[in-house]
């Protein structure tokens, strides 16, 4: 396959940045999106150019490091798929592909397609934990948990913190991420003691980082590689309102 890429290039946080066009030839449909960029980068390095910086780690869809907006969609148009698991067979030969970084004030661009997502870490630090003595793992059946709750908590816990939800949200809101973390803990017995204070601390931190408010557009769920459902946000809202009501 031969492709035309329009890629956001920005040499550093203070650079203005611009879209730059590249031609990539002989792309195999079996390559992942990142491998395709690797091929381009190898050529750029040989030509003495600066390779395109992008985040990645596991390349198997589980770490949450990768992520870019591909043709206007966070992680590309393939549903429930991270950028590293997106394959070139989903693109047409000769296509032009636009690639941009996550766009949000709390996610400043470090370089090219790399953004600083430490705002997410600070949201977690604010309350995304349980204060119980963490010895060795207890027996799985020592604390009974309803099957439905266990399933829902597990679904919420699959959030890999990639930030696609923020990138896709027209308000630049981090509600889906924060809600996933809150729901995952608030459905389990271990999460109960801090349930209400956790919601308040994490939502307040989300605000302090400068993320937008949620207007329930559902753009986040649609691009989330883990399909975190929108009703986790209802769960977060309910816990948060309880914190302020009492």
């Amino acid at each position: 396959m031969n492709l035309t890429l329009r890629v956001w290039r920005q040499s550093g946080p203070s650079d203005d940045g611009r879209m730059v066009t590249y031609q990539v030839e002989d792309v195999s449909p079996d390559m992942s999106f990142l491998e395709m960029l690797d091929v381009l980068n190898e050529r750029l390095i040989l030509e003495g150019d600066d390779p395109i910086a992008f985040d990645h780690d596991c390349r198997e869809g589980i770490c949450g490091m990768c992520g870019m907006v591909i043709n206007g969609v966070a992680h590309g148009e393939q549903r429930a798929t991270t950028t590293c698991q997106l394959h070139m067979r989903h693109f047409e030969d000769g296509a032009t592909i636009t690639i941009e970084p996550w766009r949000a004030a709390p996610f400043p661009v470090v370089k090219d397609l790399v953004v600083d997502r430490s705002a997410f870490d600070r949201i977690i630090q604010a309350g995304g934990f349980v204060s119980v003595p963490a010895g060795s793992a207890p027996d799985a059946h020592s604390i009974p948990v309803r099957k439905e709750d266990a399933d829902d908590a597990f679904d919420a816990a699959t959030c890999i913190g990639c930030g696609a939800c923020v990138a896709a949200c027209p308000n630049g809101s981090a509600s889906l991420f924060t809600a996933a973390k809150i729901t995952h803990l608030s459905l389990l017995p271990q999460g109960q003691p801090e349930r209400v204070s956790r919601a308040k601390a994490m939502v307040d931190q989300m605000d302090a980082e400068g993320f937008g408010g949620c207007t329930n557009t559902g753009e986040c769920t649609a691009v989330c590689p883990k399909g975190i459902p929108l009703d986790t946000i209802a769960q977060m809202n309910s816990d948060y309102l309880k914190a302020n009501g009492k």
Binding site: R103, A105, D152, F211, T215, A234
Partner: protein, 220 residues
């Protein structure tokens, strides 16, 4: 109340107040189909509610105050949330494609603005009678029938556009309010969305029936 979630809750609660009002308002409007007298009696009854326990227009004035407060709070929260959203995305995307189904979510702010402008016109027309051919002193039903006279087809058109806008606003807004207040369970989401759509549909039909009936001569 100052946090983004607090403002959302304000929007949900004030929105609910306004929706409740719209339902009653719509039912009242339909009285015109039972004749002008029925409509006038209803308008009169609104003003004499609870009399002689409370003076003339007490209940109506309270309702008006609650409504004005709701409108102001709803707009305040919407504007400050919109500004927060603007600040959260200072650099726009070169390409951006919506992935969620439903365009109604994307016209909430524009729709709200349109509705606000319409409400101003609507009050001038049928409440204060300033832009109504019959003026303030005419009976409510006369004002209504004259206002939507076939010769003033453009007024009816304004109403049609505005009411449809309200319907679209509520299709997202009603469901969204439940979500914001945390009353959406995994299984209830579908039902609530359907309910919101149904309620919006009923309101649109109920509000458009009287003006259209008058303009097309069904109600004289």
């Amino acid at each position: 109340m100052g946090s983004s979630n607090g403002k959302k809750a304000v929007m949900a609660v004030t929105g609910a107040v306004m929706v409740l009002f719209l339902v009653l308002h719509m039912l009242g409007n339909l009285k015109i189909f039972f004749g002008r007298d029925s409509f006038n009696d209803y308008a009169h009854a609104l003003r004499t509610l609870l009399e002689p326990l409370a003076p003339y227009r007490t209940v109506l004035t309270i309702v008006e105050i609650v409504l004005v407060a709701s409108v102001v709070l709803h707009m305040w929260a919407a504007i400050s949330l919109a500004r927060r959203a603007g600040k959260a995305r200072p650099v726009k995307y070169v390409a951006k494609k919506s992935q969620a189904s439903g365009y109604t979510t994307h016209i909430m702010r524009f729709g709200g603005l349109t509705i606000a402008l319409f409400v101003v016109w609507h009050l001038l027309d049928l409440t204060f009678g300033v832009v109504n051919p019959k003026g303030f002193d005419a009976a409510p039903a006369d004002r209504m029938v004259a206002g939507f006279d076939p010769s003033r087809w453009w007024v009816t058109l304004i109403y049609v556009v505005a009411v449809v806008m309200v319907g679209l606003h509520l299709r997202h807004g009603v469901w969204s309010a439940f979500q914001t207040l945390g009353w959406v369970g995994r299984t209830r989401t579908r039902t609530l969305r359907l309910g919101a759509g149904l309620l919006s549909g009923v309101l649109v039909v109920g509000f458009l029936a009287p003006p259209l009936a008058i303009t097309f001569g069904v109600v004289q």
